[in-house]
Amino acid sequence: MCDCAKKHKYQGPDDNPYLPYLARVISVTLETPNIKSFQVVLDDKEKMSQFSFEPGQVAQLSLFGVGESTFVINSAPHTKDYLQFTIMRAGEVTSAFHDLSVGAQIGIRAPLGNWFPCQEMEGRNIVFVGGGLGLAPLRTLILHMLAHREKYKDIHIIYGSRTPNDLCYSKDLADWQRRGDIHVTLTIDREVPGWEYKVGFVPVVVGEAKLNPENAVAITCGPPIMIKFVLIELEKAGFKPEQIYTTLERRMKCGLGLCGRCNIGPKYVCIDGPVFTFAQLKALPDEL
């Protein structure tokens, strides 16, 4: 056993995991009309250079006086000069984040939670299925795999959103499409003039893709209704539940497995997740 678990566990200043480290926003990107990406840097330069996490791990970001919320770290693990988070304006904390400008100070408790077992995925064909902001947790893993491209076999990214304006990370998508060594399928729900890629819901596109389950792993994230039907399509294509990974969201407060609210049966999404295989989820009470 490696000591990853220890290395990627949030300790906090003075061994107090409720205390955040301070960080500043260095860049804000408008992804879609209601989604922004924030690049942040820890105030403590040494902490920043030593900061390490695995793809899929999350952070508790706070604005003092407003509150704390959970977001996945979506920059690449090998990017050492900043951490990136993508936030949809939804509630009180996310709205306050959307009002931030470069230079604003925030609190960050990270890394928290488990991660995608990318070592176990080496030597296998990889299918990513994302919808809307669900591409955020996949992005870290995609960037990680692209940085170690030779370790993975075919990589196929299927990504969709309602309209072309709702696609996140358009620069990344363009980069990935330009690369010859991965396959990218983009789709939107309804036809729009000028759209040159697929039209149709993500699960339908997954069905049409005729995916080969042999020696493959599928990773999906998106709205729950999309995941539900993607799962049906993947199983139809022959994927077994243990070949399919997803990452869950739940309302969280502590992120430490103590405050009680994010459980599904005996498992806490904050410490036992957020990454689960569908085989693991099937063994849990139906409480999604």
């Binding site: 006086g65 407060k253 405050c259 609210r261 005996p266």
Partner: protein
């Protein structure tokens, strides 16, 4: 051999303890028996059951995690920085005269907050600063069922001193070094000894007053029973009357769910953690509008399953002390014992 402290000497002991500790002791207030700070001029009440448990001594209803303050940089007033500040001092406390079920509650919360995985530094500090003088239970109430869940009305593992009512006084058994430090020699040297068999006899009395035990053990079998009953329609039937008021969680000695909120006042403020309740619909409501436990029956099922299944799986313990407060205080008359009896097969 244990000493026997007569009723009329208790005050001397409490006054002595109050010189060095915050002493928290059951007393009557506004028609309720509550655990509160000992004050020499107030009567204490060791006869009644306190309305709420003693968990607030280690896990206060509201507690500051840290203070924050935004300040302008002197050299560059456009640059604003935030400073965080924590407190390290917690008061040295004695919980005096709390029943064994409340001691068990503190032990159970310790298993969650200070055992494996992430440790809660705020709880840890308060627990270390707390000494417990438990009082063996003399009058089990109708709702009491500590023996059912493996507890005892007269033993209190986790306490530092155990008092047992004997005649017109209390037998004082020192259980730990922390407890020994609470014994003022000049007072206790003058006290008479009490025979161990007499203490034992007194201890057995309370157990006989409790209902015949339906023993539920923290076994994998118990944990499985509730998982199996997860989809049972019985949950709807059993919890139809529930008002989601949350009193069962607030009164419970083991409920430890909390929320974290920021309180803001101009450029400074504080981050607080406060008791929360899994009975409230907002507890799991997500910003998207989705709520995984929207129905009251789902929330009640989670509460019972947490105590009688999930805590067995995660912490090897039952999360219930059998104090009966949730039964006594429930305005809808929901009786946890009926639900547990129906869904969990007897293990012995």
């Amino acid at each position: 051999m244990p000493k026997l402290i007569p009723q009329n000497k208790l005050k001397d002991w409490l006054d002595n303890l109050a010189q060095t500790h915050e002493v928290w002791v059951p007393q009557d207030q506004d028609g309720m028996c509550v655990i509160d700070l000992y004050q020499a001029e107030r009567e204490i009440n060791l006869e009644s059951r306190t309305r709420f448990s003693a968990k607030e001594l280690v896990f206060p209803q509201t507690e500051r995690l840290f203070k924050y303050k935004y300040e302008k940089d002197k050299d560059n007033p456009e640059h604003v920085s935030v400073k965080l500040q924590t407190e390290n001092n917690v008061p040295k406390r004695v919980a005096f005269g709390i029943p064994p079920c409340d001691v068990a509650g503190i032990e159970i919360i310790s298993k969650v907050f200070d055992d494996k995985g992430y440790k809660d530094p705020y709880f840890k500090k308060r627990r270390e600063a707390l000494s417990i003088v438990a009082l063996g239970c003399q009058h089990p109430e109708n709702a009491c069922f500590c023996t059912t869940v493996g507890g005892s009305p007269s033993k209190a593992p986790g306490a530092d001193i155990l008092l047992t009512p004997v005649g017109d006084g209390y037998a004082v058994e020192v259980l730990t070094a922390k407890g020994q430090a609470l014994i003022p020699n000049d007072l206790f040297d003058k006290l008479a000894d009490v025979d161990a068999p007499d203490v034992e006899k007194a201890q057995q009395k309370a157990g006989k007053l409790l209902p015949a035990p339906m023993v539920i053990s923290p076994s994998a079998q118990t944990a499985q029973a509730l998982l199996k009953a997860f989809a049972s329609p019985y949950w709807n039937e059993a919890t139809a009357a529930c008002l989601s008021c949350g009193i069962c969680t607030f009164a419970c000695p083991t409920c430890h769910c909390f929320t974290i909120v920021d309180e803001k006042c101009g450029r400074c403020g504080e981050r607080m953690r406060c008791w929360d309740a899994c009975m409230f619909p907002l507890y799991t409501l997500e910003a998207s509008g989705h709520n995984p436990r929207l129905a009251q029956s789902q929330r009640y099922r989670n509460r019972i399953s947490h105590k009688y299944s999930y805590m067995i799986t995660n912490n090897n313990i039952l999360g219930c002390t059998g104090c009966g407060r949730c039964i006594k205080l429930c305005p809808a008359g929901i009786d946890l014992r009926r639900i547990v009896e129906k869904l969990i097969p007897k293990s012995e």
